[in-house]
Symmetry: C2
Subunit: 442 residues, 2 copies
């Protein structure tokens, strides 16, 4: 009988191994042909692999293949000798003795992915996503996004949170309203989850602290630079809080941890994109009404809607805190009750506002959170006051009947956070395969 | 201006801190009242928090509250003195001076969650999920599940995989067929993703190695102990493989890493459920036709369908390898081509079978994987031979036109793996909120 033992015996080295190699070492590497610069007797073949680019050198009569046999976008395995070379990336190049072609393309690339900057529209990039992301700067966005998700999970894990997976098909949504995609589920009406809100609250009674990273679906008829109809939510919910500020505190710590992680492990990608990490040592917080007043005074702007922030106001609040306190982030607290969902806890001292917050980052809301009502009677009372139906929420509501700790949580939009961190001006840039009102493919 | 600095100042300690506390220490803890045993002058209050149970002791005239003021399922904050006590869990108890009630339930619990074994049906447990999981053995399943997901991500990260997030709403499914949930997406027909197959392959051309942990939707009309209509897929895809056995090798390493992680960090939960971890030092692999022959001979069973494994055959193959080699897992390789999707690579030496595999674990398939066709012309040829349409697959197919490395990957059903590891007999036990043909709530 044959067995697998989990011991890999391949002798192919990675780019970081190559960078560590001594001059004169004989090594084998794999990758895609990113570009070929043919000088006649010699040719520079830039090899692209998951860690980046590497310069390899073909020499007539020294390398097994003719250079004409090689194409851009071929996948190859190459062997050769490591040579120090100041002008090459990483100060090293590989002088090739052998090239094995693993696969060849059947058509020339439709985009010049080897250029520093892809000279094409967002629309074209999205239409050819699997090609445009072969550009190393384009793909760097998603390494940084990976780092943010790792930071979220790893930090919350150290704080005693349990990761959960809640269903995306359900009978009813958490926020109510018409923003849900509807489907037929074995002849029963169903919706796609617009947030894991109900489930994460229900699980606070079990695990005290929970988080989830998963897709969120919003059938909103917005077609803007900041909206997606499917996005990744970074959600957490924590019990035994004395104040909603503990939730903001936890988010501050997550951001501090994550910026550290990015600095340490994603420096290459940050440099590729010229990203300057924000200062997260301390994050100011300000009441909603106070924030409105501050920007209205400083920028001589008339307040129109006292119950909500317009996108322009979000930008001005961020600008204010950047100018006055050099802050990239600001928590805006105590949102008006009428603009928050029924489960938001009203401030006992001032019932027209809630113990809730948004986090603004460089002019845009990237998080909504707050304390939730944990008392069954008050929850029922608020539902009645709003004239809502409890149908389909029986399981959620009964959880509170059987006791729940004071709790709260938040939801972060991953693509938006990535977008603002990188400095992109369209959230589609930081979503692998965005879904908007017009885009369902690829 | 007020700032958050990410420094938490709360003095509440966790259960593990309590276990490390010295006798005589004054500490504060939080949790839910799991049970109360009232002996008159003293009462034992078992406190449940995320890490487990803790014995606290109320004493008449020494604790601020009357014991009658306390209910099961109240959430409380307690302060007192640590006392060594052999008969208490962890050999310690907390003698209470102060109890603060944070919240009270409004109805008595419908289930005796403090019992060692919840004496109720699966149906009832699922109907009252947020209550039944307050039983520490019930919730332990999901801590173990968390450990499996951590193992998957952490191990693949060390192997140079990039985590991706692919859309769950799309224009067309990866496997074709009728097993998809349909919805209307802004008046356009759309489906829920039955796998991230197309997207993860497309991203192999970008990141070389990718993985995803996310929901998968199957509109299959199965109502069995092993099927869910929404489940969590652990998917990976890797480029530059020489053989599909490298994929099996990677899965073997993931299992080894994960069993180690569970042993180290989830020992408490494994003990609660009496789970014995499987041996994953070496995993046998056997051809599909050979496996069929072996069990047909040993167990004197007639082969009916030469192209697929019946559930009973999966059980017998597992039994065979357990009896003959003491193996809990077995890779079954070279599945017939006609039972695999179009993108599966046929064996050049024997085109009726594919370079693919399933992994069986204790009698059940928990993984399907294999090498994929990476050559554009061959892919088109196979699609034509099957009489399939290419409509809606243009983006996927064009990726191959522009070059792709040899690659393959797999998908693991998280709930099934958890189920077989724990020894449950219904996959609904290891899904927080299962979706099946009859269940859409909670």
């Amino acid at each position: 009988m044959d067995f697998l033992t989990g011991v890999c015996t391949k002798e192919v080295i990675s780019l970081s191994d190559f960078i560590e190699s001594d001059e004169g070492a004989q090594v084998t590497m794999e990758g895609a042909v990113h570009s070929i610069r043919n000088m006649g007797e010699i040719a520079f073949i830039i090899l692209r692999s998951r860690e980046g680019l590497c310069q390899t050198v073909w020499e007539a009569n020294k390398t097994n293949l003719e250079i004409s046999e090689l194409k851009e976008a071929s996948c190859i395995r190459v062997s050769g000798i490591v040579k120090n070379e100041e002008r090459a990336p990483h100060g090293k190049e590989l002088r090739l003795s052998e090239i094995v072609i693993l696969s060849n393309p059947e058509a020339p690339l439709p985009l010049a992915v080897d250029k520093w900057k892809l000279n094409t529209s967002l629309e074209a990039k999205l239409n050819m996503r699997s090609i445009s992301l072969r550009n190393v700067r384009e793909r760097a966005r998603f390494k940084i996004q990976e780092g943010i998700v790792r930071g979220f999970r790893d930090y919350l894990h150290t704080q005693g949170f349990t990761e959960i997976h809640t269903p995306k098909i359900g009978a009813k949504g958490a926020e109510g309203g018409s923003n849900m995609f509807k489907l037929s589920y074995f002849h029963k009406p169903a919706v796609l989850a617009q947030s894991p809100q109900f489930y994460k609250q229900m699980m606070v009674g079990v695990f005290d602290r929970v988080f989830e990273v998963g897709p969120v679906f919003r059938a909103e008829k917005h077609n803007t630079r900041r909206h997606l109809n499917e996005y990744i939510g970074l959600d957490f919910e924590m019990g035994y809080i004395d104040s909603f500020l503990e939730i903001c505190q936890m988010e501050t710590e997550f951001l501090q941890y994550t910026m550290d992680l990015l600095k340490k492990e994603y420096d290459k990608e940050l440099k590729l994109l010229g990203v300057e990490l924000p200062n997260v040592e301390k994050i100011p917080y300000v009441r909603f009404d106070e924030a409105k007043r501050l920007v209205s005074e400083k920028y001589d702007r008339k307040m129109r809607n006292p119950f909500d922030l317009e996108p322009e106001e979000e930008e001005l609040i961020s600008r204010y805190f950047k100018e006055e306190y050099d802050a990239d982030f600001v928590f805006v607290t105590h949102y008006p009750s009428k603009k928050r969902p029924f489960y938001a806890m009203d401030d006992p001292a001032e019932p027209a506002v809630t113990l809730s917050f948004d986090l603004l980052f460089r002019g845009m809301e990237i998080t909504t959170g707050g304390q939730r009502i944990h008392n069954y009677s008050r929850l029922i009372e608020k539902i009645k006051k709003r004239g809502m139906e409890t149908e389909g929420m029986e399981q959620y509501l009964s959880t509170f009947e059987y006791g729940m700790p004071p709790h709260g949580g938040l939801g972060i939009g991953l693509e938006r956070l990535t977008m603002k961190l990188i400095g992109d001006d369209n959230v589609r840039e930081t979503c692998l395969f965005p879904r908007d009102m017009n885009r369902l493919e690829p």
